[in-house]
């Protein structure tokens, strides 16, 4: 691999990894606040891409309102998911909650397939179709948007969680729901907000990604899984670690495909993230065993 190629694969890895990072952030926020792994997380990426396309193309809205509206609708769907499926399941076990969110993912995907069909769609680029040259690699403007949006979202989230009342309340719930309740934080409201926030993050990833990589009703499955691995690298606790994890997976996948040798071919691309997941879990198993709440 020449150095030009290396930079090219590196940039596309960072771009793809940014999407994983946004999905991973969603997993992390929900898990921290509610101790639930939301397997429907990837579907919100799909919803972001598909809804923004529908508003732009079928309704004929300008791009910016179409994007903002699609993020809002995704957040609303996240709220509905929490209120109807999660909150109604009282005293549910870990396994029950996992299956409920998997059921929700299948349901959302199925509805999307019925509403929009099975074709791939491509919403317009944010700032036109074009590339610029950087260290011998060609970078699409949209890739720059994706990376920039991810960086901005990460920083904003960090600031919000550190300096706003709501962010601190969410953080408090993550550290100890009981103690948070004692100082008057409503854990259920925080759980609702975490689902809406995660859905919105997924949708942001979807609207940013769809112009470059296209979207269809079924893109959520793999993206959800990669985001999940990103969050697992961060131990489902640290937001920054989830972002770093997402970008790492993107880069490793991209470089491995670039190497095109033995097991590192595009055929096994999706297995790479999973192997990383297993290795991380096993390395950290003694630490994880302590922090996992029983049951």
């Amino acid at each position: 691999m020449s150095s030009d190629q290396f930079v090219q694969y590196l940039v596309s890895g960072i771009t793809q990894g940014s999407i994983y990072a946004l999905v991973g952030l969603g997993f992390t926020i929900i898990y921290a606040v509610t101790n639930i792994i939301n397997f429907a997380q990837g579907e919100f990426v799909m919803l972001g891409g598909m809804i923004s396309f529908a508003f732009f193309h079928s309704v004929g809205m300008p791009l910016v309102p179409a994007i903002l509206l699609s993020i809002l609708i995704a957040a609303a769907i996240g709220a509905v998911l929490y209120l109807l499926a999660i909150r109604t399941a009282k005293r549910a076990s870990t396994v029950s909650l996992i299956i409920i969110t998997i059921g929700a993912a299948i349901f959302i995907r199925g509805i999307a397939g019925q509403v929009w069909g099975k074709d791939f769609v491509r919403p317009p680029f944010f700032t036109g179709d074009g590339t610029f040259s950087f260290l011998g690699a060609y970078i699409h403007y949209q890739a720059l948007w994706i990376i920039g949006i991810t960086a901005a979202v990460t920083i904003l989230l960090h600031l919000a969680f550190s300096y706003t009342m709501l962010g601190k309340a969410l953080k408090a719930c993550a550290i100890s729901p009981v103690a948070a309740g004692l100082v008057g934080i409503n854990a259920r409201t925080m759980a609702l907000i975490s689902f809406m926030l995660a859905a919105a993050l997924g949708a942001i990833a979807g609207v940013a990604m769809a112009p470059l990589a296209t979207a269809s009703y079924s893109v959520g499955v793999m993206l959800g899984l990669k985001g999940f691995v990103a969050a697992a690298i961060g131990g489902f606790k640290s937001q920054i670690a989830a972002v770093v994890g997402g970008i790492t997976i993107g880069v490793v996948e991209s470089l491995a495909v670039g190497l095109d040798w033995g097991p590192f071919t595009s055929a096994y691309k999706d297995a790479i993230a999973l192997v990383v997941l297993l290795v991380i879990l096993l390395i950290r198993s003694s630490k994880l065993a302590k922090e996992e709440r029983p049951g």
Partner: protein, 327 residues
């Protein structure tokens, strides 16, 4: 209250169930559903393994379909590509899958709860990707056809009628073995682990070893089911062993009531009939309804449909007994 049901009634119910099971493949009864019944039997075998692991030992596995697929593929490749006797292929598949589960069992069962779910999920998906991508051995996404039937001497299990008895013979034997395990010293150890690992450890139960043992057993069950599946269909492709398949196995176990060996038949039958007979009528809406059912079952009857029905039955019997006791 359970003792009321035991005794006379208990044996009567078992005899009736066996009579019904025996009659299913005959044309005068449910002959047209023989193939469906074969699949129910195969699914029951996988489900029982998961019931032992999840219901009795309290450990999650979201990758059970991978062991199922491993059994299916090893059987298929050995018996078709290498002309190995199908019975020997089936045996080799079970031993290999069990050995594989043993090797990965020790590291994986250091994890608990959500993390264990994740690790087993990842493992399942890696194997699924291998089934798809190692096309020179597995036939890739298109799968491989022309796998031989099982046979004894000159008697081949080449009709659904014959295979029904083969599969259900296996299934009932496995159910009986599992029932015995549950009622034995091992079963009590497993329930102790489910109750509290620390307490189990403190009375001298080797927790890690028991978890791995039962994981291996569930993997061997899944492998046997996979072998029966390929020698029944004579065709194997990766799709029936994907992540959704693992979820479906969990759902079967849950509907049957996790800590209920005989509930596994009920769980497997419910899901199988639902997906093969009922949902087909809804055309493309089938997955949507399926997702909805997953959510509704887990929200409203997380202890399982079978257990719920059993409770209602016991309650009715109790009321009946009360009425008779009144003067």
């Amino acid at each position: 209250m359970w003792s009321v049901v035991k005794g006379r009634w208990h044996w009567g119910a078992i005899a009736l169930m066996l009579a019904i099971l025996f009659s299913v493949p005959f044309d005068w009864f449910l002959g047209e559903y023989t193939t469906l019944a074969i699949f129910i039997g195969i699914n029951t075998i996988v489900t029982v393994g998961l019931c032992l692991l999840m219901g009795y030992t309290g450990q999650v596995s979201l990758g059970q379909a991978a062991f199922y697929g491993l059994g299916a593929y090893i059987s298929a490749i050995l018996s078709k590509t290498y002309d190995v006797n199908p019975w020997l292929a089936m045996f080799t598949a079970a031993v290999t899958t069990g050995a594989f589960a043993y090797v990965i069992g020790y590291p994986i069962f250091r994890l608990r709860g959500n993390y264990l779910a994740m690790a087993t999920l990842g493992l399942g998906m890696i194997l699924y990707i291998l089934f798809r991508q190692m096309a020179q051995y597995t036939g890739g996404p298109d799968g491989m056809a022309g796998i031989p039937y099982l046979s004894v001497g000159g008697f081949a299990f080449d009709t659904p009628f014959r295979r029904y008895f083969l599969v259900w013979g296996f299934c009932l034997s496995i159910l009986l073995i599992s029932q015995n395990i549950v009622n034995s010293r091992t079963g009590r150890a497993l329930r102790a682990i489910h109750g509290s690992e620390a307490a189990a450890e403190s009375v001298g139960i080797n927790v890690a070893q028991f978890k791995v043992k039962i994981f291996v057993l569930s993997a061997v069950y899944a492998s046997l089911a996979g072998s029966l599946w390929v020698h029944h269909l004579r065709f194997v492709s990766p799709q029936p062993f994907d992540f959704l398949a693992s979820v479906v196995i969990v759902v079967m176990a849950v509907i049957g009531g996790l800590a209920s060996i005989w509930g596994a038949i009920f769980g497997a039958a419910t899901i199988r009939i639902l997906s093969d007979e009922v949902l087909l009528r809804f055309g493309e809406w089938d997955v949507i309804i399926y997702g909805l059912i997953l959510m509704l079952v887990m929200i409203f009857i997380p202890e399982g449909l079978f257990v719920r029905l059993k409770k209602i039955y016991e309650w009715l019997r109790f009321k009946y007994a009360q009425k008779r006791a009144e003067p």
